[in-house]
Every structure is written in structure tokens, then in C-alpha cells.
């Protein structure tokens, strides 16, 4: 049996939307098989993984907390990926954003007023942008591969955070735990409905940013530029679009989003700086971007789906006695199957039986 790809005369727009659904469905089937292999009833396991975590109000709040950074970074990465700039270092940009934003309440703990939180958010954005600027500069000026540099910088950022939390910024009253001092009330993002759960206004910020980016991409000249540079660099050159400027634009934008996600995470859910600020949100955001069709609005839905896998992993650990590593497996499976199904946008698949034709590979 052989598999042949037959190019469609035009990309199938319906498949663009069906592919992620199909991909999710296949990931669920693969997940069911995995649960059976681990000796759990698959229906019960899938229920515990995907339904139980959102059956109660407080856990829906947890979902929003996890979704906020995923949506923000996923939306930013959409712009990068659409313009063919492979920023895979959002994790590092998020960490540096968290460090920059946290500098205010940690270094100036006595400055407590309503200005401090907006300033922290701005600092966070600037930190992320600054860190995204490095691979952009190296790519634009030296043609250095941005995939590798942005990724290497993640490891560097993790070490920077580890050092700063264990060293200079360690809480003086913290019994030597590796964590910063707790942020004062003015430096915390308020919760939306404290009576029901912990979700904070960071989620709303994420939605607003994603919608703004979605509108920019769909309606503005800049958005058009992003798409043209990504799909046909030659045409972009004729139109006078500057691919080098686009490198900076996309990296700074995605870096800013990631930095904002970082400061939202620490000023929202955690309230202090710890040696890790993210369980790999920056990498999961790549999946969010793809599942959301490289469209910032789509990233909102995709961000919620991927946030659910994190909660599902925790639920699987508690109610099924399985490892929370299952979440990572699911995330990988989702990206994997969505990419596979994306083939159907451009091609029809034909299975042919029997001997190979001569000259066919």
C-alpha cells in the first residue's frame, strides 16, 4: 500500500478549520489508546482528563490562569510564524519579562501606590522585547539562524532567573528558601471574582491583546505586510516591504507579548519570583499558534484547549494516580496530529494498492 499526495487546484479553506478539529479528535483517540496501555479505562480517564477539570467553578478559574500566558504568547507567535520568523524562545522572553516586571516590587518594596502595577506590566513588556531583540538583531545583521539562537537564550534566561532568585533577590525574611520577597498588594493583579476562584484580570488583558493582534493582522497594512513577507518574499520585495524590519517587528511584538505573559504570571497567580515561572508555557504556545491556525483570534480558543491539558495532567495525577507528564504527551500529540491533518489543506491523499509505478518514489 502506498500513500500519494495529489495537489489540490486551490487550498481548501474548509480544511483549514476542520484540520485542528480532526487533529484534536485523533489526539484523543491516541490518548485513549495510551490510557488503556497504562491500565486505565479510557472513557473514565478521558473524562477525568478533559471534563472533570472544568466541571467546577474554581477549576474554571484555574483554567483561565493557565490560558492567559498561552493566549498571549500564542497570539504573538502567530505574527512571527506568519512572517517566517521562527521565534521558538518565547519561554525565555517570558522569563525575562517576569524578572524585569518583578524588579519594581522586589527592589523598591516601599513604593506602594496605584502606579506600580501598570509600571510593572510595562517593564515586563520591555524585558520580553529586549530579550526578543537579541535573536532578531543576530538574524537581521549576521543572518544567524534564529531558531537556534532564540532557543539557546531560553536556557540562558532560566539560569539568569535561577541565579537572581537564589542570589541577589532572595527574600531576606524567607528562611533561605529560593524565592523572592512576596509582592505587596499594589503589585498584584486583582482577581476578577475572588468569591469563586483565583482568576485575575490578566486573562482579560490576554484576550484584548489577542483581539487587537487579530484585527491588526486582518485589517491593517502592517498585517498585510506580515502575510506577504511570509508567503512570497519576492512579491514583498516588489511591494517595498522590508523583510529586515519585519524581523524586528515580529520578534519585538512576540517578545513583548511573552514578557507581558511573564509579569502577569508572577504578579497574578504566584505573587513572587520563584526559580521557575513557567511549566513550559513558551513552548506550548507554539502549539497554541498552530492549533489556532496562526491567527491570534484562533489562539484564544487554542490557548484554552492547551490550558485544559495542563489541568488534565494534574487531574490525572490526583484522580487516576497517573503521572502529570501525560499533559506533555497530549500536547505533543495535538501538535503532531494537527500538522498531519494540515496536509489536507493543500493536498488530497490517495492510498494506492499494488505495485509502485515506475519512477514513482
Amino acid at each position: 500500500m502506498r500513500l500519494e499526495l495529489i495537489k489540490r487546484s486551490a487550498p481548501a479553506p474548509a480544511m483549514r478549520f476542520l484540520s485542528p478539529l480532526l487533529g484534536l479528535f485523533l489526539a484523543l483517540i491516541a490518548g485513549a489508546i495510551m490510557f488503556s496501555a497504562l491500565g486505565k479505562a479510557p472513557d473514565r480517564a478521558l473524562y477525568a482528563f478533559f471534563i472533570e477539570p472544568i466541571s467546577e467553578m474554581w477549576s474554571v478559574h484555574e483554567l483561565l490562569i493557565k490560558a492567559a500566558p498561552l493566549i498571549l504568547m500564542g497570539a504573538g507567535l502567530c505574527i512571527c510564524f506568519q512572517s517566517n520568523n521562527w521565534n521558538i524562545g518565547a519561554e525565555g522572553q517570558m522569563i525575562v519579562g517576569a524578572i524585569f516586571g518583578a524588579a519594581l516590587p522586589i527592589l523598591l518594596p516601599d513604593v506602594q501606590n496605584f502606579l506600580i502595577l501598570p509600571l510593572m506590566l510595562i517593564f515586563g513588556i520591555m524585558g520580553g522585547m529586549l530579550y526578543g531583540f537579541i535573536p532578531a538583531l543576530l538574524k537581521a545583521k549576521f543572518k544567524t539562524n534564529e531558531i537556534l539562537t532564540s532557543l539557546m537564550l531560553v536556557y540562558v534566561a532560566q539560569m539568569l532567573l535561577d541565579w537572581i532568585v537564589r542570589g541577589p533577590w532572595r527574600n531576606p525574611e524567607g528562611l533561605n528558601f529560593p524565592e523572592s520577597r512576596r509582592f505587596h498588594e499594589w503589585a498584584r493583579i486583582p482577581e476578577m471574582m475572588p468569591a469563586d476562584g483565583r482568576a485575575n484580570w490578566g486573562f482579560v488583558i490576554a484576550i484584548v491583546v489577542a483581539i487587537a493582534l487579530g484585527v491588526m493582522l486582518a485589517k491593517s497594512l502592517k498585517g498585510f505586510e506580515v502575510k506577504v513577507i511570509g508567503t512570497s518574499p519576492k512579491a514583498a520585495q516588489f511591494a517595498g516591504f522590508d523583510a529586515k524590519k519585519m524581523i524586528f517587528f515580529s520578534f519585538l511584538l512576540a517578545g513583548g507579548c511573552a514578557g507581558l505573559a511573564g509579569i502577569i504570571e508572577v504578579a497574578g497567580a504566584t505573587g513572587q519570583l520563584r526559580p521557575t515561572v513557567s511549566p513550559g508555557y513558551g513552548f506550548t504556545a507554539i502549539i497554541v499558534a498552530y492549533l489556532g491556525r496562526l491567527n491570534p483570534i484562533g489562539a484564544i480558543v487554542a490557548g484554552l484547549v492547551l490550558a485544559l491539558t495542563y489541568l488534565g495532567g494534574e487531574a490525572a495525577q490526583i484522580s487516576l494516580g497517573l503521572s502529570d507528564k501525560i499533559a506533555r504527551v497530549f500536547q505533543g500529540l495535538i501538535l503532531f496530529f494537527v500538522l498531519a491533518c494540515d496536509t489536507l489543506i493543500l493536498y488530497k491523499i490517495r492510498l494506492s494498492f499494488g505495485a509502485a509505478q515506475k519512477g514513482a518514489a
Binding site: L148, T149, M152, L333, L339, A361
Partner: protein, 306 residues
């Protein structure tokens, strides 16, 4: 054994997994395919090698399992990018995410267990020679495989007809296809070879370098291997030099930490990654060498027309 020998030996041990993984990826990229999933294949090899060696009690079977898991993981990538013409960058990333997840799931019960170490070679008399003895005749078996791979791949790519065909596919798959060369079959085999190498490199980590299983124990080595291929401008001998340079950097930083140099240990840990960035920037300055050697079809999907 003197201090110099000990340091040289640890550098070789640190360089070996980088070298093997990079040589494998070099062949993949020479065929025009960019597999960013090296880290994922490597970590699968590490967990597979460790688990099977623990269960069977035989580290050699562990090595075979590591290679097999690397190949299986690479086949997922091959199916998506070759048979389904999926985006290679994104698929490679998904392979890394999947590999890190599956490996931590598989290895969870084995965390903290003492592993089976693949023993070093020991020849009577030869290994006892001063300096050259332990370096040439007293290392772990995979070290010798890694050196053999460099020469083997170099010979294969530049001295054999099949190697020439492989490179021609990497430079222009349309022409190769027009000449009747089965492009996808070559690429499948190249990707599987890359998977086998990455798996073996992972097996080296969990059976020789630190004979135990730790979650995410590859710790970015797969990515450094990818960078090494670029650094080496797709030349096997330069991969050898690069891998030993990075081995030296990572061992140097460990010694610096042990000596208690007044620099934060985190900075030293970050050093190999910073060094990678610097080296990548320096190498990308040499535009001509890069242009000559970069496989022109790198990362571009190929769908045979009919």
C-alpha cells in the same frame, strides 16, 4: 592516571553524544531535510537505553534499544514531513515536545535507580601505556563508534556514489527526481539514520556519561548538536572539531564550578549555550562557506509529481 588524562577523557565523554547526534543530523540535512527533533529522539534513546538495560541487566541490549527508539521516533517525523509533506520546522518541534513527554512518562519508575554502565575497554599492556593508553585504548565503546562514524560518514558522503546522490537530492530534489532517483526513499533512510544516531547519543548519556535516568536528561544537547551542524557548515570533520570544542567548554565550566571560582554557577552552566550563540554568529559571518555547503533544499518539502 594523571590529571591531564582525566580531563581529556571527560572531554571525550562529554563530546561523544554531541558528536554522534550531530553526525546523524548532518546526513539528514545533507539530504535536504531539517529535523529539529534531535532533542526528542535523543531523550527517547536515553530513556529506552536505560530502561531496557535495567530490565535485561545488559547495557549492550540497552544500546540497541536506544538506537531502535531513536529510529522509531524519527519515523514519526519522516512520515509527517516526507509522506505528508508537513512543515519540517513545526514537526521537528512537535517531535521534541512529544519525546520529552513520552520519555518522562516511560522513565518515571526508574528515576533515582542505579543504572548499568557500559564498561570501558581494557587491553592488557596497551591501556596501561602512559597518556595515550587510556585515551586510545581505554574509553567506552561508543567513543570508538563515534570516531568511526565521522570517518564513515565522510567517506560515504564524499567518496561513494550513493553519498553523491544523497547530496544531490539535498541540493535539488526536482532534478534528482527527474533523473529517476527515489527522493523520498533516500530521505526516509537519511532521517532514520539521523534517528539511530540521536538514539545512540541518548543511550551514551544514560549508559555511559551518567548511568541513570533523569527527566529531560539531554538538557539541550540535541539543540547544541543542531547548532554544531551549522557551525561545521555540513562537514563531518568540522563536526568532530566542534563537538570536542563544546565538550571542552562544558567540562571546563564543571571544573571551574568545582574550583569555586567567584562566578555564579548558573553563569557557568549557561556558558555552553552562550558559546553556541557566539559561535553561530561568527560562523554566519563567513557567507561564502555557508552558501557553498548549505544544502539548497534544506527544509523544503518535496511532493513527487506524476
Amino acid at each position: 592516571m594523571g590529571m591531564t588524562e582525566a580531563i581529556l577523557l571527560t572531554i571525550a565523554t562529554a563530546a561523544t553524544p554531541l558528536l554522534i547526534a550531530a553526525i546523524g543530523e548532518l546526513v539528514v540535512e545533507r539530504s535536504g531535510v531539517l529535523n529539529l527533533g534531535v532533542e526528542g529522539m535523543m531523550v527517547m534513546g536515553a530513556v529506552g537505553g536505560f530502561v531496557i538495560a535495567s530490565l535485561t541487566g545488559n547495557p549492550w541490549i540497552g544500546v540497541l534499544a536506544a538506537i531502535a527508539l531513536g529510529v522509531i521516533t524519527s519515523l514519526l517525523f519522516a512520515f509527517l514531513t516526507l509522506s505528508l509533506a508537513a512543515n519540517q520546522v513545526a514537526t521537528g518541534l512537535s517531535l521534541t515536545i512529544l519525546g520529552l513527554g513520552v520519555s518522562s512518562l516511560m522513565g518515571e519508575q526508574f528515576v533515582g535507580q542505579a543504572g548499568k554502565k557500559l564498561g570501558n575497554l581494557d587491553f592488557p599492556f596497551l591501556t596501561d601505556l602512559p597518556l595515550v593508553g587510556p585515551l586510545l585504548f581505554g574509553q567506552d565503546p561508543i567513543f570508538y563508534i563515534s570516531i568511526a562514524l565521522v570517518f564513515g560518514v565522510s567517506w560515504f558522503l564524499f567518496r561513494t556514489r550513493v553519498g553523491l546522490t544523497l547530496r544531490s537530492i539535498g541540493n535539488n530534489h526536482h532534478s534528482a527526481h527527474a533523473l529517476g532517483i527515489p527522493v523520498l526513499r533516500y530521505r526516509y533512510l537519511a532521517v532514520m539514520f539521523g534517528g539511530a544516531c540521536a538514539g545512540l547519543a541518548g543511550g551514551h548519556l544514560s549508559l555511559v556519561y551518567t548511568p541513570q535516568w533523569v527527566e529531560n536528561m539531554t538538557a539541550g544537547r540535541g539543540w547544541i548538536a543542531l547548532a554544531l551542524v551549522v557551525f561545521a557548515s555540513w562537514r563531518p570533520a568540522r563536526v568532530l572539531a566542534g563537538a570536542y570544542l563544546f565538550g571542552a567548554v562544558s567540562i571546563g565550566q564543571l571544573h571551574a564550578q568545582a574550583l569555586g571560582i567567584a562566578v555564579p554557577s548558573q553563569l557557568l552552566t549557561a556558558l555552553p549555550f552562550l558559546a553556541t550563540i557566539v559561535v553561530l554568529v561568527l560562523i554566519s559571518q563567513n557567507v561564502r562557506a555557508t552558501l557553498i555547503n548549505t544544502p539548497a533544499m534544506l527544509g523544503r518539502p518535496f511532493v513527487p509529481d506524476r
